[in-house]
């Protein structure tokens, strides 16, 4: 009994003597129970955790796939939009060219028409000028003629006295007589 007690006492007190050490008493360290608990935990926890993590992984995968598909769709749309833009740009270029040529043609037509009318105008101006000159000349001539006739009339009126009158008459009579004589 005493020995047992002593051994108990010794057992109870040996940790105080040393410093760090290993407790090899399997029952006191509760090793078996801990092993069972950890085993059960791993056995059941593994399935639950695996399900949980697999679900999460699947969710992530599907999200990634979805976004990938969305990205692909968006890229396709972008490509389509780019092609359309190119086409529209080409059309715009064509329209622009057409417009330019149209404008060019219009311009030419306009210039031609204007030059024709300008020529006509020039011609009519020249004619008008010619006619004006002619008229002015005619007027000047008429005026000169009138002045000469007036001068001659004035001279005639001033110089025609009786003696000259007689003489003229005589001369005329002589001329007339000569004409009679010849007959």
């Amino acid at each position: 009994m005493k020995n047992v007690t002593h051994s108990f006492v010794f057992l109870a007190h040996w940790p105080f003597a040393g410093s760090f050490g290993l407790n090899t008493d399997i029952l006191a360290t509760n090793l078996i129970n801990l092993t069972v608990v950890v085993g059960v935990l791993i056995f059941f926890g593994k399935g639950v955790l695996k399900d949980l993590l697999d679900n999460r992984k699947q969710r992530i995968l599907s999200t990634i796939r979805n976004s990938e598909e969305l990205r692909k769709g968006t890229l396709e749309q972008l490509e389509k939009a780019r092609i359309r833009l190119q086409k529209v740009e080409l059309e715009a270029d064509e329209y622009r060219m057409n417009g330019y040529s149209e404008i060019e043609r219009e311009k030419e037509n306009l210039i031609n028409a204007t030059s024709i009318s300008l020529e006509q105008l020039e011609k009519s101006k020249n004619e008008t000028l010619y006619f004006e000159k002619q008229r002015a000349m005619n007027q000047v001539r008429q005026q000169g003629f009138q002045q000469a006739v007036q001068g001659a009339l004035g001279t005639l009126n001033s110089c025609l006295n009786t003696e000259l009158h007689f003489r003229t008459i005589r001369a005329n009579i002589g001329i007339l007589g000569a004409i009679e004589w010849k007959r």
Binding site: F8, P15, F16, N23, N30, N33, L34, K57, L61
Partner: protein, 247 residues
């Protein structure tokens, strides 16, 4: 005459071998402070477990997470959800704090329940979960207090203290008291639960070494997880409470 002391001695020896050591600590003397070394050692182990597993898991991050990374991302998602529901919109900066609290407490508790600490003998006391010691839980609770004060003050400035006279100034003493009861209840709840769990297991083991403690150990695992969750949730709730109501 001779039997009585002997039997007493026997009983004492029996008591000692199956004894539950409460209040026995392995002290280190560091700069005039007495340190509970067993708590430090187990804390280091817990920290090593956390850091090591995290480093191994995220050493080679993939777009499609592999097993370890997947698990840690799941944990992070869990913590973020928790902080978001408790704190609200501005939960972002507090995720690391809440996550640290939750993971440290959780791994501490579970290490106490799952790791065979008692294989290693100390000169005094025994190794157990770090949260088994009131100093650890008080430190965690005081950190939480500091965190929610910081959160409130940085969000609202000095008008944070208006909450002490709301809804009526009559409640001022109770509101002030709350700041003391919050860390107190946090630390004592965690400490008491974990200590009780481990004590129950130890006592049962000393009475019936096999099979019987196993259900209690599972219960202990459950409560440990719940306690970690409660601590993290309450810390987040306190932080959210001190930040709310600001326009």
């Amino acid at each position: 005459m001779n039997i009585t002391p002997c039997s007493i001695k026997t009983l004492k020896g029996l008591y000692d071998i199956s004894g539950v050591e409460v209040g026995q600590h392995f002290y280190w003397q560091i700069g005039g402070f007495q340190i509970h070394a067993q708590v430090l050692i187990t804390s280091w182990v817990v920290i090593t477990i956390l850091l090591g597993s995290v480093i191994i898991a995220v050493r080679n991050p993939q777009t499609i997470p592999t097993d370890g990374q997947n698990f840690f991302e799941y944990v992070l998602e869990f913590i973020r959800d928790l902080s978001k529901t408790q704190i609200g919109e501005e939960y972002g900066p507090w995720v690391p704090f809440i996550g640290t609290m939750f993971l440290f407490i959780f791994v501490s508790n579970w290490s106490g329940a799952l790791l065979p600490w008692k294989i290693i003998e100390l000169p005094h006391g025994e190794l157990a979960a770090p949260t088994n010691d009131i100093n650890t839980t008080v430190a965690l609770a005081l950190l939480t207090s500091a965190a929610y004060f910081y959160a409130g003050l940085s969000k609202k400035g000095l008008s944070y203290f208006e909450k002490y006279i709301k809804p009526t100034p009559i409640l001022l003493p109770i509101n002030i008291l709350e700041d003391f009861t919050k860390p107190l209840s946090l630390s004592f709840r965690l400490f008491g639960n974990i200590l009780a769990d481990e004590l129950v297991v130890v006592v049962l083991v000393s009475l019936v070494p096999l099979v019987v403690p196993i259900p209690v150990m599972f219960l202990g695992l459950f409560t440990s997880g719940i306690q970690a969750l409660i601590f993290a949730t309450l810390a987040a709730a306190y932080i959210g409470e001190s930040m709310e109501g600001h326009h």
